[in-house]
Each structure stands twice: as C-alpha cells, then as structure tokens.
C-alpha cells in the first residue's frame, strides 16, 4: 500500500537561512507570535483590565496563568514546558516557581505542557532549561504571590502591607486571619497582573526551595512502575508498528514481497513509506511499515518481509576507509578559525616540538527507551504522544511534512526514557503519523534497539591533530589545533562539509590556554550518515584531544599534569575568542552574563585535585588523570583513578569531579547529572563505536554496542558543587567532556600507554593490549 504522492514528497521544514549549530530555531519556529498567543490564551485583553505587563520579561512570557493554576483544594499545578528525561526538570521548574510563589511543596503538582509557541523555547537540549527560564519563572511565581496577597487584603479590607504569603496561605499578622491559596485563587485571577518592577523578588537568603536538595517529583512514580514514557502510550483501538528501513541513508525501497509478513499471526498490514529525499532534516527514512495487533507481531512480520533495497549515494561509505581519509585531512593546513600571534614562526623557534593525532568514532545516543511515538487522526486533525525533546519542532515538522495547518496538530511530550540528543529529532513521530493515517486507527511506532543503533542521528566521527612548541623551560609557546569531522549542518543541507562556528565553539575555538601563539583550524569532511547532537556534542572529541594533549605537553616538559594544565589556563581573566578572529556563540548566552572566566576553570581544577589527593603515591598499575573543560557555560574538572592489572584489565575505583555551574537549583540532582554525564563519557570512551560498511551500520544491539555495566562502573564517585552566585549554567551535558581525557591521562600515568584513538577497548576486548608508547 503506497502513501499518496503528495505526502511522499514533502517540503522540507524550513531549515534554510543561516545554518548554525544553534539547536534553537533550527526549524524556524517563530518566536514572534509568542506574545499574542499568550495574551489571547490568558484573556488579559478584556476591556477594563489592565494590559498584562509580564508577556516579555527576560527569558520570555512570565504571565502567571501560563505557568500556575491553583485549584480550590489548594493544589498548585505548575506547567513544565520542557521535557523530563531524567535531568529532573519537573522538579527544578517546580522549585523555581514554588519558591517565589511561597507554595507548600506537598501541594505542588506538575502539568506537562503541549508543544505550543506560547511557552517560548521548548527545545530541551543544550543544557539550558534552567538558564533560559530561571528569571521568568521566578517573576511568574512572585506575580502570582502578589496577586494572592492583594486578593486577601481586599477580602479582609486591610492594608496590603499587613498581609504576607507563607507556604500556601496568606496571613494577616495583626488579626491572625489566614486564607489558603485555594480560597483566594479565583479572586486573585481577576486582579490586574503587577509589573515586574512592582514585584518583591525574594533575595537569595530567603530561598526555600531553590538551591536545596528537594526530592524528585518523578521518583515516587518511577519506583512503582507509574508514569508514561513515549513507548507506554495506550489508546483505544491502538495498533502497533515497526518499520523496515533502507540500510543506507538515502537508500531506496525496491521490490517488496509482503506475503510472508502478512502470513505472520497478528500482522494486519504492510505499508510502503515514501523514500527519503535529501536533505535528511527530521524526515522519516522511508522503508516499509509492518502493522500488527501487538509489537511482537509487527517485529515477527518484519523479520519475514522480503525487500530489495536499492543502493543510494552512501553505498560506498566505509568507516575504516573514512578514518584514513579523515586523518589525512588534519595533516594538511585547514581553514583558520581563531588565531593569535604567529604560530608558524613560534613553532619553528621552539626548543622542543610535540605533536599528536587523535581519532574518535561515531557514537549512538542509545537512550534506554528507544524512539517511540503514537499518532491518532480524527478527520483532518492529528494528535501525537511521543518522547520528544522538542514538541514544538515536532509539531512544525509534522505540519511541514504532512502539509496540514499547525492548528490541526497537537503534540504531547511524554516522559523520555533518556534522550541524550536523539529525541530532539522527531522523525519517528512522522512515521507514526503517516502509518496511522493509512490505517485510520491510532498507531504506535516502536523502534527496536537494532533500529535505534542502525538508523540514528550519530555523533560525528572526528580526527584531530595538535602541535605545540615548548620553550627550553617547558612552557608552551605555540599551540596549533586542527579538527575535522562531518558537521551536523550536513543533516540539514547535505552539501555542507565544513564545521559550523557553533561546533567549533564546542571546545576548539574557545580553548582557554594562555599561550602567546595559538591557531585553531578546521578541515572538510562530508557526512554519509545522519549526524546529530549527542550529550555535549563536539565537546566530546575536542575535549578528548585538547585535554589529552595538555597532558602530553606536560609529559614532554617533564612537568606534573595538573600543574601544567593550570599554567596553560594561565592567570584569571575573561577570554574573548572573537577578539582573535573566532565567531564564538557562547552557547547562545550573552557574554556579559556568561563570560569565559578562566579563573573559574582553574578553581575547579584546584578543588578536584585536592579532593582526589593529587600528587600522592599510588601502587603500581594505578594512576590518576585530570581534565578540565568549560561547556554549556559551566566549568567542570574531573580526576579519574584507574587500576590496570598486569594483564591489562582496566578498572575505575574512584572518580572525583568539581563543577561550577553558577547558581544551582538542586545540588543533589546536579551531582546526579555529573555522575551520569561522566559515566556516559567513560562508557563511550572505553567501548563505544558505531562503524559502517557499504553504507550500513554494523552494530545492532548491546553485545556489539557495549555500555558500561554495574561491575565496570566506578565504585566511588565524589562530586563537589561550587557555591556560586553567578547566573545558572548547564548541568546535563558538562560532566561528559572531561571524562574521556581524564581516563586517558590516568591510563597513561598507570601504564605509560597513551590513548589517541577511541574506543579504548571496544565492544569485545576486556584488556588493554597496546604497548607503552610514551
């Protein structure tokens, strides 16, 4: 059964215009009508009621009713417009609002927002849910508190200054009268919304929830098997589908023999999906859908199906040959992306020269919950439920692909069973919508693990070459970093083969080293698979190379790794890469609020070194390694301790980490993100590799895509969260970049083996086999 042609050749969603790494607005979702919609939704333009002054505060719309609903029972429903994927954003958002609202925590509930521009940016990646929303959610909470106080004062006919909100109640101290929020909500809602200038935003010392170890709002459900992930959605009459996709990106579906699939008990239909036309963007990959009465029937049907796949333009992609090609690229001069002084002259004049080349393979995000989406059509209206990081982009992509108006589409973000960047691409939701339309029934599409690993949006493969000149005393005088990797932009415009400024700003052009001569270059590399974001993105390979090379320089200079790193970072100062020809985006954060402060980076290095007892003597076969990296406007330094047995078995007894993420909302959950982000990085560095032959991904499931398990995980993990009054930075991703180089540096100190190619072990090896290459 073919999907009608007009669906088969969709317009790509607007991905034109200047392409940058910015994960915001990639689909051209306009923020321009945020204000109008919010006003209409809140009915604040009714005659006689003052105009809402809070639609455009710093960070966006802070209209209290957009974020807070108080029920007569006193229950406080707080809307979370970001996706919950384990980073505890439900809890964080609620802490911020509830603090200013003076809500009683036991009455707080979360309502997950639909994808709707009225909330502003909903793209839950880039580690910025708190950064983007901290201010406006406090304003919303304070405004609602003020309105509740005003409502109570009016009811009691007392002066406003004599009443105050306290934990879900408003109190008139002079008379001892008390009214609960539930009793005041309706009256408060009719009052004019106060201006930001008239609000009493709490001082830091008065915070009740922000900065405190408030318990998670999701955990009590999780431990009882409650809560709905994308894969858990149930609808009356639901059918279940899996898709057989072309093994190569832009491969095509040839002849299909559906009879054997239809013979499988429980299989209802076989549906041919439209072939994917470049660019890939967030469109489905094509192939053939198998629909059944349960997921198992669909999986069995797919196994029986016979399809002739037709080769496409990536049929020759071989990751081993590509590695050779990519290493050659970084041996040639590249495009200069930042330059200070005269590197060539300084290298020529150096007393000693050091160089090293690094390689890191493709990786898969592989969240434990694979992509899954449910779609249901009612006439020409579509409702979807899915584990998406960006319900607005999902909606816009659906509208573009299906050529139906945005208003006809409702997108519900469920809980996400992990995401790590995979679920910011809603291709799987489009699949569900196409199949449900064909079936005239609600349909859930589930990706099996094989689908997830073979048809992903992969973390890019990379090659890097670093070269340094050292003075006679060992000090670094010249630093050259060349990087090449297929860029993410290629997913949106497949003619692009040069890294974006955004990607270069993830650990390459923002290198914090205070060396007199410095140059950062990029090389060209075409993409042959869909390239996508993965937890901390290009920071992973850049930090691996730069922080490994820092230790290599220290070794060449005969110096201690930590001392040399601090010397490279240099004196405390504010760094502006753009003054040296970079086009540095600083994670879309204003540099006035979020400058690169090298002193903060040095500080976390010093703290973590002290925590780990850096410099102590370790038994033979043990080593400590250190790495530090600023990403997502937060500063992290990590020390890994490894033990390598005589026959090469690696274990990680202990990890220490210090993070300066500015103001933090929940230190407990920040520690969890640091721990999780680090082990994510260690797991990828030890085992992770996605490889391709004849354009097809070779890995299929957990035996060949290996993840760190309990017995391999660090036995102990200590995190120090720096007490800071700086504005909030990211925490979901910054733990990952220093993990791999800290591990590699520790292995060097334990064994003399210098790791320059990842993964360290791969899926099958259990022991280090490389010889000393110091």
């Amino acid at each position: 059964m073919d999907i009608p042609r007009q669906i088969a050749s969709p317009q790509a969603p607007a991905a034109s215009g200047p392409l940058s790494l910015s994960r915001r607005g990639m689909l051209g979702v306009s923020g321009a009508f945020v204000m109008g919609l919010a006003l209409a939704a809140c009915g604040r333009e009714t005659p006689g009621v003052a105009v809402n002054p809070l639609t455009d505060v710093k960070g966006g719309d802070a209209t209290p009713s957009l974020w807070i609903a108080i029920e007569p029972s006193g229950a406080v429903k707080i809307t979370c417009h970001r996706s919950e994927m384990g980073q505890q954003v439900w809890t964080a958002m609620a802490q911020i609002v509830a603090d200013e609202l003076e809500a009683d925590w036991s009455q707080v509930e979360i309502v997950q927002a639909l994808g709707d521009p009225k909330y502003g940016d909903q793209n839950t990646d880039g580690s910025r849910s708190v950064r983007f929303n901290f201010h406006r959610l406090r304003v919303a909470g304070a405004a609602m508190r003020s309105m509740l106080e005003e409502a109570a004062a009016r009811r009691w006919r007392v002066d406003r200054s004599g009443v105050r909100a306290d934990l879900g109640k408003v109190i008139h101290a002079a008379s001892g009268r008390v009214l609960g929020y539930g009793e005041l909500a309706e009256a408060a809602d009719r009052l004019p919304i106060p201006a930001e200038a008239d609000l009493q935003i709490k001082p830091r010392e008065a915070w009740r929830y922000i900065g405190k170890e408030v318990a998670s709002l999701t955990v009590p459900k999780i431990i009882r098997g409650q809560g709905t992930y994308g894969i858990d959605v149930q609808r009356p009459g639901l059918l279940y589908a899996v898709v057989a996709r072309p093994p190569q990106l832009f491969g095509r579906t040839g002849a299909v023999d559906e009879a054997p699939a239809l013979a499988v008990p429980g299989v209802e239909r076989v549906i041919r999906l439209p072939d994917l036309e470049p660019p890939a963007v967030f469109k489905p990959l094509g192939g053939v859908a198998i629909v059944g009465r349960d997921t198992w029937a669909a999986i069995q049907g797919r196994a029986a199906l016979k399809v002739d796949w037709v080769d496409g333009p990536n049929a020759d992609y071989d990751s081993a040959a590509f590695e050779t090609m990519l290493m050659d690229v970084v041996r040639q001069p590249g495009e200069t992306r930042r330059s200070r002084g005269d590197v060539d002259a300084a290298l020529a004049a150096a007393a000693k020269r050091v160089s090293a080349e690094y390689y890191a393979p493709h990786l898969a995000q592989s969240p434990m919950e694979p992509p899954s989406a449910t779609a249901e059509w009612t006439d020409d209206k579509l409702e979807c439920w899915a584990c998406v990081q960006d319900p607005q982009a999902t909606r816009a992509t659906l509208a573009g692909f299906l050529q139906i108006p945005l208003e006809n589409i409702k997108v519900n973000a469920t809980w996400l069973g992990g995401a790590f960047g995979r679920k910011s691409k809603p291709d799987f939701v489009i699949e569900a919508a196409l199949i449900a339309k064909e079936m005239q029934r609600p349909v859930k599409v589930t990706w099996t693990r094989e689908d997830d690993l073979r048809h992903g949006y992969f973390h890019s493969v990379s090659a890097q070459r670093l070269e340094a000149g050292l003075a006679a005393d060992g000090a670094c005088t010249a630093y050259l970093h060349r990087t090449a990797f297929p860029p993410i932009v290629a997913t949106f415009n497949n003619t692009v083969d040069s890294p974006s400024d955004g990607e270069m700003g993830l650990g390459a052009t923002d290198v914090p080293f205070a060396v007199p001569h410095l140059r950062v270059e990029s090389g060209r590399a075409p993409a042959h698979v869909r390239i996508g974001w993965l937890r901390s993105v290009a920071n992973i390979y850049h930090s691996f190379a730069v922080q490994s090379f820092a230790a290599e320089m220290a070794h060449a200079a005969g110096r201690d790794q930590k001392d040399y790193l601090l010397e490279l970072i240099g004196p405390a100062r504010v760094l502006d890469p753009n003054a040296e020809g970079a086009a540095y985006a600083n994670y879309d954060a204003p540099k006035e609020d979020y400058p690169i402060e090298t002193g903060r980076l040095s500080r976390v290095v010093e703290i973590v070194a002290e925590m780990a007892g850096w410099g102590r003597t370790l038994p033979k076969g043990r080593g400590l390694g250190i790495a530090a990296h600023r990403s997502f406007v937060s500063y992290v330094a990590t020390v890994v301790e490894v033990a390598v047995s005589a026959d090469g078995v690696i274990s990680i007894p202990h990890v220490w980490l210090a993070v300066d993420a500015g103001t933090v909302v929940n230190p407990r959950h920040v520690r969890a993100q640091m721990e999780g982000g680090t082990i994510y990085g260690l797991s990828n560095a030890l085992y992770g590799q996605i490889t391709a032959k004849a354009g097809a991904i070779e890995q299929g499931n957990f035996p060949d895509w290996r993840l760190m398990r309990m017995a391999e995980a660090p036995l102990a993990f200590d995190v120090h969260v720096v007490d800071s009054t700086s504005p909030p930075g990211g925490v979901g991703e910054p733990g990952t970049p220093p993990a791999a180089p800290a591990l590699a540096n520790a292995i060097f100190n334990a064994t003399g083996v210098r790791i320059r190619r990842l993964p360290i072990l791969g899926p099958n090896a259990d022991r280090l086999t490389q010889r000393r290459n110091a």
């Binding site: 809980w415 999780g676 398990r709």
Partner: protein, 151 residues
C-alpha cells in the same frame, strides 16, 4: 486461544499468538507498561519480572510457558524487601530518567531476598545484567546497601 496467567496475584486471560514473549503480553495486551523494552534479547534487564519469585527477562520468555506460575511485575512488587528498596531509592533519588529502574528494582529485590547483606561483588553479579544509560550505578549500589541495612 486464550490462556490464563497469574499476574500480580490476579488471574488474567490472555489471547496472544503462541510464543509471544511475556513482555509484549504485559505491555500491549494487559496495559502493564511498567515493565520496559530495551533490547529484546536478554541483554539489558529493562524487562525483568519475577516468575515464581525468580527474576527472568520477559522479552525472551514465551508467555504460554508460564501457565500455573506466579508472575510479578514492578506494579505488583510488594513485601519487606520491596519496601526497603523503594524507601532507599526514594531517599537517594536513585532514578534519573527511570526507564531502567523497574528492572533494576526487580533485580535488587530478588538479590536482597536471597542475600540480606550483599557485598560489592554480590551486587556486581546480581545487577550486571541491568543496563542504565543514565548511569545511576553508583547510586544503585549505595541504595542496595542502605536497604539491606534497614532489613
């Protein structure tokens, strides 16, 4: 042909194709979605349930082999070990995304029933089949020990 399975102490009629793994019967036929799919080949532990109190991977266990046996899922898990584990998990906020945690809890509960004071090595063996991509391993280890201490 419908068969009857005992799930969480309740008799449930099931009409699925012969050989259908218990996982899909629970999730797609009975609406018990607390048990998760992660790999389908007994490699990740997300689908762990108890059959006659023993942890098994529901993704590779044909449902029609389980007639007359007692099946427990995360929704029905109860008892002193389960209480201690849930309390320890909550006290430390062990789960992140939570997707693997039903399986983790099913494995941990079985461990504590057979071994009330597990060592690190015991924990490694009992929990090594349960992957967690959010990497909550250190917290899980700590919470298992905390729960054991309360029993």
């Amino acid at each position: 042909m419908a068969i009857t399975l005992m799930i969480n102490r309740e008799a449930r009629a099931v009409d699925a194709a012969p050989g259908t793994p218990l996982l899909w019967v629970l999730r797609d036929h009975l609406g018990l979605t607390g048990t998760k799919f992660g790999c389908g080949i007994a490699q990740c532990g997300a689908c762990t349930v108890h059959v006659d109190q023993v942890p098994v991977r529901a993704c590779v266990t044909p449902h029609d082999a389980l007639e007359g046996q007692s099946i427990t899922t995360i929704e029905g898990l109860a008892g002193p070990q389960a209480d201690a584990i849930r309390a320890a998990w909550e006290a430390a906020d062990v789960p992140q995304c939570g997707y693997c945690q039903a399986g983790q809890i099913m494995s941990a509960e079985a461990l504590l029933r057979s071994n009330p004071a597990p060592t690190d090595a015991d924990i490694d063996v009992a929990m090594n089949g349960n992957l967690c991509r959010c990497a909550t391993y250190v917290s899980i280890r700590g919470a298992i020990k905390a729960a054991a201490g309360k029993l």
